[in-house]
Symmetry: C2
Subunit: 284 residues, 2 copies
């Protein structure tokens, strides 16, 4: 049976170090603060927001919420982002996307100061994760995958890794972060021929296809580490991932569960980025 | 024997279409113009500059040269870049890097307007090639690799590709451009274990290792397309690539020579980007 890579365990460890770092900042008179900017009332966004607020509270990080109606104009949203940029007491900003139709995504996301871009949406953050430099921040989900690998001491240097998915939110940044960690990375996607054969050969497999149960037993091999990024609701109303967990568990060496895996770590990474942003500002 | 992917042939075809596009622009009163900004007198830079100027002349593109002494200050260089940005008659800018020690690379490269960044050095261009969008421009060398694949009608969708090298100038952008073209891409580098086995399985192999003759017969397989990005001077004073040409030629399906391959196409791509920048400005 595979070793279970528990997101909860990673979160406990992250919390511990985050509480200490917040303590240090507070002694210097700095209270790290996350701004959450939400347009409309999408239930996914609200659920993520609720989770993020709880994690912030736990770590001693303040939250300031900005809510706009779904019908808000671009000018109104840019005004809010400008307030976030100008407010020295705010260190990071989470802006939910995709935005409704009336917004120009490129203009809006690049209006945010990259120093406060804790979810990696600005061009400067994209360039940072692509180049492997510390400018801006990577998106929280692939960063959570790396936290899990780090926490469980899974070596990446010289390892073969496969990433299923080429989105800017997970697949591409996960690939870039693995390359930065000296893995030999193959990026698979909907046009890939014989994906199972490629995935079987990977020592580290990150599945971010966005399709429930897409990866079954033909994708796995002995000793593999499997990170499942998917979150879906199955026909019984239970949460499940992109990986057929039962099939994987009997073959691979280590695997993240869904729920309780990557998703659990993501909001903690967001909070960690806010603390990091506050620390970077101190160092300036 | 492998089919020879001649850079000269690609250049001839590019020239033809570029001359036509310049003609259209000139009829609208626009003369496309490339600014070349060089600090110091590095012989590589001067050689590239000479080649670029010739190609510009051939295509009917103007060139404005800015030369600074190796001892120039950052303020002086930023002044030049600012002049380039403000000058409406300049459409693209080539800035030679690496810059001498006294310059902050990030500040200097991002001082350039991304609309004029025809060599893909700004964060906005990096984000563009990473995201697969048309903002800014990709670096000219990986773009030249794609031109060669396009000209010779080499299908990329669903194909396995391997890229040796993870630099921001060639390896990473080549990988991103191949992913964008629906190839399944593996990025290999100095920490890759058993690189020959990975490369043999690739239907398209781009070698940008920066080491003469690193890829020998164990890297190749029947039917493969091999793009050799390396340019070196061998012990006899002749130019050679990263690929052992004679060994590859007898095995693979198609291969670029050195000289006469990718390097030949690169400066033409630069000129093409200048024309494209002038056209984009017209469309605004």
């Amino acid at each position: 049976m595979a070793r279970l890579l528990s997101g909860k365990e990673v979160v406990l460890s992250l919390n511990e170090s985050m509480i200490q770092r917040v303590e240090v900042l507070r002694k210097r008179g700095v209270l790290p603060c996350l701004a959450i900017v939400r347009v409309g009332e999408r239930s996914d966004d609200i659920a993520y927001e609720t989770g993020a607020v709880k994690r912030c509270e736990k770590a001693g990080v303040a939250v300031e919420r900005f809510q706009l109606p779904e019908t808000a104009s671009q000018t109104e949203l840019l005004d809010v982002i400008n307030r976030v940029n100008c407010d020295d007491s705010i260190h990071g900003c989470l802006l939910f996307r995709p935005l409704p139709m009336q917004f120009d995504d490129e203009t809006v996301r690049n209006a945010l100061l990259s120093e406060k871009d804790v979810d990696g949406i600005t061009d400067r953050s994209l360039a940072g994760v692509y180049a492997g430099t510390k400018q801006g921040f990577p998106p929280c989900t692939p960063a959570a995958c790396m936290e899990i690998l780090d926490y469980y001491g899974i070596e990446t240097t010289g390892k073969r890794a496969a990433v299923i998915g080429r989105s800017l939110v997970v697949g591409k940044p996960a690939a870039m972060m693995l390359i930065q960690r000296n893995a030999t990375v193959t990026v698979c996607h909907t046009k890939t021929v014989d994906m199972p054969a490629i995935c079987r050969k990977a020592e580290i497999l990150i599945v971010a296809a966005g399709r429930a149960g897409i990866a079954g037993k033909e994708y796995f091999s002995t000793g593999q580490t499997v990170i499942d990024v998917g979150i879906h609701v199955d026909e019984n109303g239970s949460l499940c991932g992109d990986v057929k967990f039962a099939e994987a568990e009997s073959i691979v060496g280590a695997i993240t569960p869904v729920p309780g895996g990557v998703g659990t770590v993501t909001t903690s990474v967001l909070v960690k980025h806010v603390i990091e942003a506050a620390e970077r500002k101190q160092r300036k």
